[in-house]
Amino acid sequence: MLRVIGKRIALLIPTLFGLSVLLFLWVRNLPGGPATALLGEKATPEAIARVNELYGFDRPLITQYLTYMGKLLQGDFGVSINTGRPVLEEFATRFPATLELTVVALIFAIGVGIPLGYLAARHYGRFLDHSSVVLSLVGITIPVFFLAFILKYLFAIQWSLLPPDGRQSPRIDATHYTQFYVLDGLLTGEYDAAWDAFLHLILPGLALGTIPLAIIVRITRASVLEVQNADYVRTARAKGLMERTIRGSFILRNAMLPVVTTIGLQLGLLISGAVLTETVFAFNGIGRFLRDAIFGLDYPVLQGFIIFIAILYALINLIVDLSYSVIDPRVRVQ
């Protein structure tokens, strides 16, 4: 197991190296170069020259790259142009918000998606199946930000059931240690704050979770359909096993492999979706910060974030691969 992990991490190095080269070249090709990105379009040539000297943009490319890599390896992602604070610090304060949102979205997507996909397959060709197929088709084709608008209009504006934006109501004065608002509320015993933060997560979570939900429903349905007619299921029936055992230990367990892979692949979708969802709900997470970074051409932030996401992506895929051996003993043998 350890060897597998080591090998996978070793394989990650060339990809990250290539990515760092691409990102480095990307910054150098921004319109007007990085100095203009820092100072804005109206910067005087003198100011640009001064910034170029200060940041070393006038030195040979290879020297610049080595300096940049050296800093990167020490965890120095630079300073945000928009806020003037270190990129890593900005991430640390905002990432919990996005993580909280993503977890709610995933719980919704997995919690509803797997049972729905399973039931659709069990009721193949009947009403439940047809409606779940139609629903998942709609879920895949509806743009996240449009869905966010619909939810916000119906539940927050029209029926006033849930808060329309933000992470916490202004009237609540909560203490935040971890920046995970729900967790903070629970830890400090401020249960009303935790509940309030949770209510703020529902609408963005639903909006963000819908596409993964639709995909999980489809994969689960297809996978269960394929497995439930397999020979070993027939054999299990012939042996007279209880239907519950057949469904749980034979069908569902074997059908889960492609589902787990798919869940791992949703990360990219969730991050892109978070940028859009957080924009609509004025949710102060990393997605909204990123949107501002795009506008201000805040390249240290974009650069840092892309590397961060690439590492996260690779790690999640590693966890997914490792989880196969838990679900499927056949993988363990190899």
Partner: protein
């Protein structure tokens, strides 16, 4: 944003006998077309796409006003925005700039379809080039290209598009190129794996025995037989391209005038008026979703039609 749908089991094109596939439209593709015609899902998809194509092409004739025009500028105040049916001459009402919503939706169809088609063509061309080189040549070329593709795939699609658009500046061309380039890795991967799965087929062995050159085998035998999944993906990608284009211009990367007739842009400016004029968000949003639905329905039916597993039934 881009959804890489997992390939259906055995999703590659069935290796048709090259002796029978004389390029006269017989065999696999004709068969697939016949099956498509009988699939209601495909027909709904085709009708939706046909309607939008028609609206997009005939926009100059259909739209009462130009895309950037503000014919109702005098009829709006900061507190009132006439909705559908509330003001003569503007059946779907006005937006906050005084633009005619109906005209903007019609011109928006043109903008969306243009961006969708151009960017997908770009992604398809780039991806096919890389895929052919990797799948056809193999060896170190394959290795280098696939590592490059891995790097691009390690960045979420929308972020990749945003980064490219940032370098290119703000314009609709930048959006087209950004979305196109962000799709290259998907097509390259798909074509390569499809070609690899065909490599060991008997007809390739036969072509090699006949002494055909590697280029002829790759281009005339391997490639045509590997295109099935790529074409399916291209149809599905049109859907994501329309959504991604709207997302990028929703985020404000489209450039041009603020009142430009783009569905994503219309949603950006609908945000502030969501409580008083929800139709400004719902109409363009529905247009994006329905267009994407059309391409998805057609793509899925195409996949089913080309799938050798379902074909035999």
């Amino acid at each position: 944003m881009s959804t890489i749908l997992p390939p259906a089991a055995g999703g590659s094109a069935a290796p048709t006998d090259p002796a029978l596939d004389t390029g006269r439209g017989t065999g696999l593709w004709k068969d697939a077309f016949l099956r498509l015609r009988r699939n209601p899902q495909a027909i709904v998809g085709a009708v939706i796409i046909g309607l939008f194509l028609l609206v997009a092409v005939l926009a100059p004739l259909l739209a009462p006003y130009g895309g950037d025009e503000l014919p109702g500028r005098t009829s709006i105040t900061p507190t009132t925005i006439p909705g559908p049916g509330q003001i003569d001459g503007f059946p779907l009402g006005l937006d906050r700039f005084g633009g005619d919503v109906l005209s903007k939706l019609i011109w928006g169809a043109q903008a969306s379809l243009l961006i969708g088609v151009v960017s997908t063509a770009l992604g398809l061309a780039g991806g096919m080039l890389l895929g052919i080189l990797a799948g056809g040549l193999g060896g170190w070329v394959d290795n280098v290209i696939m590592r490059f593709v891995d790097i691009l795939l390690s960045v979420p699609n929308l972020l990749l598009a945003v980064s490219i658009a940032a370098v290119l500046g703000q314009s609709s061309y930048a959006i087209m190129i950004a979305i196109g380039v962000s799709q290259i890795p998907i097509f390259a991967r798909l074509l390569r794996s499809s070609m690899l799965s065909q490599r060991g087929a008997d007809y390739i062995l036969a072509a090699q025995t006949l002494g055909l050159s590697r280029r002829t085998i790759t281009m005339s035998h391997l490639l045509p037989n590997s295109m099935g999944p790529v074409i399916v993906q291209a149809t599905l990608t049109l859907a994501t391209a329309v959504i991604d284009a709207a997302a990028l211009s929703f985020l404000g990367l489209g450039g041009g005038l603020p009142q430009a007739a783009e569905w994503g842009r219309m949603l950006t400016y609908a945000q502030a008026e969501l409580a008083v004029a929800p139709q400004l968000a719902f109409l363009p949003g529905a247009c994006i979703a329905i267009t994407a639905l059309g391409f998805t329905l057609l793509g899925e039916s195409l996949r089913e039609a080309l799938d050798p597993k379902t074909r035999r039934k």
